[in-house]
């Protein structure tokens, strides 16, 4: 099947001058306003996810006499259909998004990278088997998988992470494998093989670092995609259990009250967009820094 993104591999990672290199990279990174904005947005998001629930109060406290309240002094972002403080729910929702985004991407990486490395490096039968399996997973419509999973195990954040993670594995496998295939043919790898280096050394010392660039780019696409994925699945009723707030669930609620309480629809959507934007900007910045070719 298709070899993915067969960008020509850069020269082997320089071993000497590591700290120098980091400093250079950081300088290059922070000179770019876009990258820096991304970093700040992501840090703010992380702070909100970690501290938000402590700072903004109980997201599950209901007040039936104050439902669908407009933003006011007491409730800066208004109240939802059960009179819960929207700000507290936004803050708590950040943690759900963080867990979904990071954990599912981590799951995909942990499973996908070794498979991709092995498949690309040993090729032949192992590769065929892996790629067929990848094809089966890729060809399955994701939502069918997610809906089926929710039907069997019940909707929950854990299952969302699992479904999103599994759906990302094929991309990780293919990208890793593609990188391995092209790196393998490079002189320095051929040299190392000729020198009798063992497979593990070659894979982890030469091959993996060269695949890292493409994988980091993929991660910066995968994390925000997973955040949107969580929102979509929660929106579809396949996500967190009530009364846990999730931005997707909040949008589902908001959608039913667009005419009466349009303010409910604003912030969860904005938060998803801004968070995703932050990760994407950060990813672009990292890519520019890590990959010298695009920096020029």
């Amino acid at each position: 099947m298709a070899d993915v993104l067969t960008t020509p591999a850069p020269a082997a990672v320089a071993v000497a001058g590591r700290s120098d290199r980091w400093r250079r990279m950081w300088r290059r990174f922070y000179r770019k306003p876009m990258s820096l904005t991304g970093l700040i947005l992501v840090v703010l998001f992380l702070l909100l996810a970690l501290l938000g629930p402590a700072l903004f109060g109980d997201p599950t406290a209901v007040h039936f006499d104050d439902v669908l309240g407009a933003p006011s002094g007491a409730h800066l972002l208004g109240t939802d259909d059960l009179g819960r403080d929207q700000l507290a729910r936004i803050a708590s929702g950040a943690r759900v998004s963080l867990e979904a985004g990071v954990l599912s991407t981590a799951l995909a990486m942990v499973v996908g990278i070794p498979i991709g490395l092995v498949a690309g490096f040993y090729r032949r039968y192992l590769d065929s088997v892996v790629m067929r399996a990848v094809d089966v997973v890729l060809s399955f419509p994701f939502l069918v998988f997610a809906v089926g999973l929710a039907a069997i195990l019940g909707p929950s954040l854990r299952n969302v992470v699992f479904a999103l993670g599994v759906s990302q594995i094929p991309a990780i496998v293919r990208i890793t494998r593609g990188e391995v295939l092209s790196v393998r043919e490079q002189d320095f790898v051929a040299g190392a093989i000729a020198d009798g280096a063992n497979d593990a050394t070659i894979l982890f010392r030469y091959v993996l670092p060269n695949a890292a660039n493409a994988l980091i780019v993929q991660a910066t696409v995968a994390i925000p995609a997973a955040i949107i994925g969580e929102a979509t699945l929660s929106f579809l009723g396949l996500g967190v259990q009530p009364p846990t707030p999730s931005w997707g669930v909040m949008l589902t609620t908001a959608q039913q009250f667009l005419s009466q309480a349009p303010w409910l629809a604003v912030w969860p959507g904005v938060m998803i967009a801004v968070t995703t934007l932050g990760f994407n900007l950060l990813g672009d910045g990292l890519r520019d820094v890590i990959d010298p070719r695009s920096a020029r």
Binding site: A2, P141, V147, T276
Partner: protein, 319 residues
């Protein structure tokens, strides 16, 4: 090339068989079965037992699977448990709808994504790069379902420019058909346009810094010419790959889009079938998706090879 295609065909058959077993067992692992659904408010044991018998669900699993394969070989996909219509007829109704939606969405994505990606890469660091990149990021960042809803509210309910939803077959009335497909195609296409834009920009930047482009520039070829001819041609490889990879996403996206705009397509059929435990339809749907995926990937690889002859060898040895 013939040998290569044969190998690909063999691999395809294996994938289809694995997928058919997976889905066959998968649907039966779901809680409840068609009988539970169909018995509705009258779930007496006799009714449930006779429905199971009607669909052969009382037989042992291997027998059921063998029966299924036997029918499949003769081209019989069975009968929908929900409305008792032949599955083949349902597919024939639904697939063209989603194909049209997908093609239109892809057109939107390619036009917008490649154009903006190229501009952004060519004018790197300039205002137009930031604008294009910004829009690309926004496209990635805004959830589909949200965009669709906002679009309906704005264009159909407030402005009344376009119909909110519904589907008119192309053969019946092309103008009405397109009128109703614009919003869904744009909504579905936006996300892909954003992905494509990013990948195109990325690949173009790589290509623009490559030696042969530098050589071309140093030879005094003008900027637009270098971008237009050399770099873009090379970056198309990336575009084709992304399109292949996005097929699954497109179908998932189509489910959401078809739900919002009430389009009776393949995506909606898929989810409905899972939710009603409509075994024959689920099995057929997955089969079609898998075959579709294989065909598209083959086309992608062929396009790939045509765009970059050096790749063919790698594809052939590893396909």
């Amino acid at each position: 090339m013939g040998w290569y295609l044969l190998r690909r065909l063999g691999a395809a058959v294996i994938v289809v068989l694995i997928a058919s077993v997976v889905v066959f067992l998968g649907v039966r692992a779901l809680p409840g079965d068609p009988a539970v659904v169909l018995a509705g408010e009258n779930p007496t044991p006799q009714v449930i037992a006779s429905i199971r018998e009607q669909y052969g669900l009382d037989k042992p699993l291997p027998v059921q699977y063998f029966d299924y394969l036997k029918h499949l070989v003769t081209g019989d996909l069975g009968q929908s448990t929900q409305d008792k219509l032949p599955v083949s007829q349902i597919l024939a109704n639904r697939i063209p709808v989603t194909l049209e939606l997908a093609v239109l969405a892809m057109l939107v994505a390619i036009v917008v994504g490649v154009l903006f990606g190229t501009i952004a890469a060519a004018r790197r660091g300039k205002f137009s790069d930031y604008t294009a990149t910004g829009f690309g990021l926004l496209g990635l960042s805004v959830p589909h379902f949200w965009l669709g809803l906002l679009a309906i509210l704005l264009f159909a309910v407030k402005l009344r420019w376009l119909p909110a939803s519904g589907y008119v077959p192309f053969s019946e009335n092309p103008a009405q058909n397109l009128e109703r497909m614009i919003l869904p195609a744009v909504v579905l296409g936006t996300g892909f346009a954003a992905v494509l834009m990013r990948q195109t920009r990325s690949a173009m930047l790589g290509a623009l810094s490559a030696d042969y482009v530098r050589t071309a520039r140093s030879k005094g070829l003008s900027g637009p010419r270098v971008v237009g001819v050399h770099a873009l041609r090379n970056s198309l490889t990336t575009v084709v790959t992304v399109l292949g990879l996005q097929l699954g996403g497109l179908i998932s996206g189509a489910v959401v889009t078809e739900q919002i705009f009430v389009i009776p397509g393949f995506g909606k059929l898929t989810v409905d079938a899972v939710l009603t435990r409509n075994y024959p339809v689920i099995e057929a749907v997955v089969l079609v998706t898998v075959v579709g995926y294989i065909v598209v990937n083959l086309l992608v690889d062929v396009a790939y090879a045509a765009l970059n002859p050096r790749i063919r060898l790698a594809g052939a040895t590893n396909g």
